[in-house]
Amino acid sequence: MSSSELYQRNRDRHPPAYSPEYKSSVLRSPRNAPISLQNSLSEITGPVFTSNELGPLDNDLILNYAKQGMPIGERIIVHGYVRDENGQPMRNTLVEVWQANAGGRYRHKKDQYLAPIDPNFGGCGRMLTDDKGYYVFRTIKPGPYPWRNRVNDWRPAHIHFSLSGDAFAQRLITQMYFEGDPLLAQCPIVRSINDDDAVRSLISVLDKSASVQLDSLAYRFDLVLRGHRATLFENRLQGKA
């Protein structure tokens, strides 16, 4: 964990706040430019999590809500590394995931899609990265999902990811997609990103070597959080007056 400030966030790689093809963004995007802030302690620190806060099945979405049996759908393992922009492992980062079930239905009181709830599938999990920045969880591959944007818009299969990092300014929420999904090119949320390379970085790849024979396929998904700038010259960032 470094004590120095972070590299500036490259906003060209992120979707702009206002992306009218994604209709909800129209009224929920600021009109003023954000004010640039050099980092202080408030930005380079953030909450620290410990493994005793998590349960033993928290990263196993196949079993963590199983009531009378196992959930229906494609059994998959999702795994990868969380690194910073310097390529260093992001240790002890809280990774939280949520998703729809195999039919594209979310276990959420506001989801009215007619595809049924799976009584044995909750759809959320969480874990901490290890010393190498590695995370792994097991789940059911989510189905595509229709939504009221344009009347016939469908989300590609996706898993939502939330990462804590070790600084509040690294806080990130994103979505993981699956290699080869034809819905990707049509999705207004995906297309809100104007950088093809940034879109590719959200697509997990089939990882046959990590699959478990006669049990589960695997997908590999690596993530990158903002890196710390080396402090070549100290100018009392931290109030060592």
Partner: protein
Amino acid sequence: MKDTYLLETASQTAGPYVHIGLAPHAAGFDIFENNFGPVLTNAETQGERIRIEGRVFDGSGTPLRDVLLEIWQANAAGRYQHPQDHQHEKSLDNHFRGWGRACSDFTSGVYAFDTIKPGPVTGRDGRLMAPHVNLWIVARGINLGLHTRMYFSDEEAANLADPVLNLVEQEIRRNTLIGHRKTTAEGTLYQFDIVLQGENETVFFDV
């Protein structure tokens, strides 16, 4: 020196069902033994108990009923519970993590945190920052989480000298970062409404 850098993973909206992953109780089911929530204090926490409460409004003046907020703040002495806070002259409080997570109510849009009032933190170049709470806001329609700060209406002198508030060129916009102190039957409350767009639009930071 390094030859290559990686690039930060692109952000995507948290979507309308963010609660499933980050606050499953709010989504309507029980799954984890230990849930992260909006109460930052326990009986041993040091400092003045306060509630921060408000709503988040869109560009039409309608409250967001599906928003999720997180706060990060220093303890009563003005120190963060983090290994890189080197203000060793200030004490740590092991009963205060400084982080919490809240969802707006699905009907009223009201969010609330139960916390303590933070002490002032030393900022860049040794200049003191006024007491403040850092906020991060995600929801359907928000493509990249929004960072802002809440300052305290009863810290006028400190606010006038705050290096971050003074970065906001238009003085009138600084008012959007002030939580308003009220005394209620339950205790001290700071009202902090956030406007995403339009008149009185809250100041957001590129941190």
